[in-house]
Chain length 222, copies 2
């Protein structure tokens, strides 16, 4: 079998991000300590869930007092890999969605740096978007290599998504985030994550179509 370490639930990692976000806010408001209960409320999970999630990574609390906000915040940041370190990101596809991603300030704040944006449309190549000069998609592989990109983001049309993905992988990225509505093939060494806008709506339609009455909240991390 693989991975000797204790198995950390996949969804737990996503919640970690939410905890950090809430802790940041609490810190800004000058809150010094927070209990699992209060933290849980803000993130919409149970208090037991919070304690269990944290327990995967160590002991951060004080009996009777709770968690020290600043300390927990930085600790979780470290664990998530967004403490100190900067991850280099490349974007393929500078359409509306791509532009939205480039414009999103949250990335930079958390240590993700867009170093490159490429597009196959010659009209876009050379233009400057969010302080980044758009390069040609043809040069993607060499760019990924020379810029040492860790993560590739795919915001291109479905029919070229796999091709672009392959170029990212060829260049040596270690993870890919795919916004195209396609299932991409990547080697086992590369981490793949899909964000599919149509599915979000379709899943809703399913519940709207049946539950006339009350609806459970949906279990999507966010």
């Amino acid at each position: 079998m693989r991975g000797a370490r204790r198995q950390i639930p996949d969804v737990c990692v996503e919640r970690l991000s939410l905890y950090v976000r809430e802790l940041t806010r609490l810190g800004q408001r000058g809150v010094g300590y927070v209990s699992s209960r209060r933290l849980a409320e803000h993130v919409h999970v149970s208090d037991a869930q919070v304690r269990r999630d944290l327990s995967y990574f160590g002991q951060f609390g004080t009996s009777g007092r709770g968690y020290e906000v600043r300390r927990l915040q930085t600790a979780l940041g470290q664990i998530l890999g967004i403490g100190g370190r900067t991850w280099y990101v490349g974007l393929a596809g500078v359409g509306n969605l791509g532009s939205a991603l480039l414009a999103y300030r949250g990335f930079r704040e958390r240590g993700f740096e867009f170093r490159v944006a490429v597009d196959s449309n010659p009209d876009k190549v050379g233009k400057v978007v969010q302080g980044l000069t758009v390069a040609s998609s043809d040069r993607l592989v060499e760019i990924v290599r020379s810029q040492q990109l860790h993560i590739g983001i795919i915001a291109v049309p479905t029919d070229v998504a796999q091709h672009v993905c392959d170029r990212f992988v060829e260049g040596g990225v270690r993870a890919v985030v795919n916004f195209a509505p396609a299932r991409l093939e990547v080697p086992a060494t590369v981490r793949l994550r899909n964000v599919d806008l149509a599915i979000e709506l379709e899943a809703l339609a399913f519940y709207l179509g049946r539950t006339r009455g009350l609806a459970r909240q949906n279990g999507k991390a966010a």
Copy 2:
């Protein structure tokens, strides 16, 4: 026929969308029948998973032959609530992300119709984006009512997300999709779904930070 309404796994619904998508493609290629095995391969799940997912909703296959592509496609479409019916959607926030959503053709194809887009920026109000005239956010409640919107999409900055959400709910939407990095409060009758771009990257960073070696594929529906 036993246990008439069994509980359907949340993730199963998302996979249904993927099945429909793949079936559509197979249909276009003229494929008449498909086995759970082959369908599973394309969607990156196990064949048992496919059969189990389908079994929640009925029996669609033929022993020894598999599933008739066209028939299964329409059946699943019905189940998802995207067969025939049109869902009315409203967008709040016509920035890059909002524009990207308006431009996404996949929605219309699957029976989601943007009827309204609003923005709080006076410079944007009155402009036409993707064939839709941008209205003022102030009028959101009445617009939701008069246009009979089922779904509200939130693509506004974090600090006003809750306010906009409340207006959607007040107007009577039955579901909300939130793209802002905030946890929104909605009554139990309203279905909420969050799409959080930063979390996608942070979850990746976690795995990049630790697994030097091979990475499991990530379980995000797409």
